[in-house]
């Protein structure tokens, strides 16, 4: 018995549609969230993350409806994020069917939010999403979908976040996101070894060996990808079979 490494499928939504951008920009339509959720659930994804990239702008009811419809499809955990700035907004996504809440910009601006969410839902339901960009020898935290720099160092912010109530870190490499050139294993290793909570690596995945690298050299507990699954470039089952044959423990659905 030991804990399997997780493969997580991510849907970036703009209201009711899934979209995908390169370097957090240049969005294009990538499908229907409910159809994709059903497919990933059946293919053996270990979790699903739905991030509303339009959340800061408008259209909250549409996103909640998307969460509700996606949750109906799933017998696996669902994380919702994007524009969740208050306990009340978090309650709304949990009521809609999310098991976990991901926060990013709002936690940087008001770190107490992590403690408030953790007190109400438990640390296991609070995911701190960190967008990190290489700056010299370290990584800097960026907010607003990667567009705005902060003075925070990613490792210190991850540690503070875990101490404040986050039960998991969703770590995205801004440098790699959308490039399909592989995960930033150095960044992932630095954060994963620093914190006592699980770390989900994100940004840059294309081929199965990228996942193998981030589990071994990056010490990731989970790895997340979006477009390669949407576009059927990579099937989740084939990815997991590759990982298992490479000695990584993964859950292969019976």
């Amino acid at each position: 018995m030991s804990l399997a490494r997780r493969i997580i499928a991510c849907l970036d939504t703009d209201g009711a549609r899934v979209v995908k951008g390169v370097h957090f920009e240049g969005l294009r339509d990538a499908g229907d969230p409910v159809e994709l959720a059903a497919r990933y659930n059946a293919e053996g994804a270990d979790e699903l993350v739905v991030l509303d990239i339009a959340a800061a702008r408008d259209n909250r009811p549409t996103f909640l409806e998307t969460i509700r419809r996606v949750a109906e499809q799933l017998a696996i955990p669902l994380t919702a994020g994007g524009g969740i700035r208050s306990l009340e907004a978090a309650r709304a996504v949990v009521r809609a069917g999310a098991d976990k809440i991901a926060v990013n910009t709002a936690a940087v601006e008001r770190p107490e939010l992590l403690g408030e969410l953790s007190a109400e839902f438990g640390a296991q339901a609070v995911v701190l999403a960190i967008d990190a960009k290489r700056e010299g020898a370290d990584w800097q935290v960026r907010i607003r979908g990667g567009r705005q720099a902060t003075s925070l160092v990613a490792r210190e912010w991850a540690l503070h976040g875990a101490e404040s109530g986050a039960g998991e870190i969703l770590l995205t490499s801004v440098d790699r996101d959308g490039t399909q050139s592989g995960f930033d294993t150095e960044l992932t290793w630095a954060i994963s070894k620093a914190v006592s909570v699980p770390v989900i690596a994100s940004g840059g995945a294309k081929v199965p060996v990228h996942f193998l690298e981030v589990f071994t050299r990056g010490a990731a507990d989970a790895a997340l990808a979006a477009s390669i699954f949407h576009d059927q470039v990579q099937s989740i089952r084939a990815l997991k079979e590759f990982l298992r044959s490479s000695g990584i423990e993964v859950r292969l659905p019976c």
Binding site: M1, L3, G122, A123, V197, C254
Partner: protein, 201 residues
């Protein structure tokens, strides 16, 4: 089969309700003492902080009706915190009293592993249990917790491991409980819920 789902405000109530609904059970979601006292098949889901569950049960005066229902033989399924609440106490909320239906104290998993224990893990069966009928050996279940019951308890039917062994499935007369989330564990989780309904019938 009618299932009475105790809703004390836990986040996973809707997904547990959906999961039983998919199996054709009639689900009543309630936080009313009289409904719980009369129930024949009770489910206590729970996720988050143990203190929140115990405090909510006591604030709504649900402890006695729940104990009475279990005492007269109602089928009980505890999920995650619904398992931990069965014990005398938990290290997570040391000043609060658990339901005390099982002896012992729930303790934190060791610090040498990442916590929460979050994700999919397998089980080792230690005693036959109806809950795992037709569940393939090697099946994975979804866990999300940092505290757990000692694997040594005689009520233990299956254990899992994260830093140490702990109880993953227990069955003692009409009391059943699982540390994982069957409502989030794909087909094997669904089978566990189906088995519970069968045992409760």
């Amino acid at each position: 089969m009618k299932v009475t789902l105790i809703d004390y405000g836990a986040g996973n109530v809707p997904s547990v309700e959906r999961a039983f609904g998919r199996l054709g059970a009639q689900v009543e979601t309630t936080n009313r003492a009289e409904r719980i006292a009369e129930a024949r098949c009770l489910v206590l889901p729970g996720v988050g902080h143990c203190a929140a569950l115990i405090a909510a049960l006591d604030a709504r005066c649900l402890r006695q009706p729940l104990l009475r229902a279990i005492g007269r033989g109602a089928a009980y399924l505890g999920i995650c915190l619904g398992l931990q609440a069965l014990y005398e106490s938990s290290e997570e909320a040391p000043t609060l009293k658990g339901l005390g239906l099982l002896a012992g104290r729930v303790t934190r998993l060791p610090e040498n592993v990442k916590l929460p224990h979050m994700g999919w893990n397998t089980l080792k069966t230690v005693r036959a249990t109806r809950l795992l009928d037709s569940v393939p050996s090697g099946a994975y279940f979804y866990f999300a917790h940092s505290f757990a019951a000692s694997a040594a308890g005689e009520e233990s039917a299956a254990v899992s491991e994260h830093g140490r062994e702990f109880i993953a499935v227990l069955e003692k007369q009409n009391i059943c409980a699982v540390q994982f989330h069957p409502e989030k564990s794909g087909p094997p989780g669904e089978q566990v819920l189906r088995n519970f309904l069968r045992a409760a019938a």
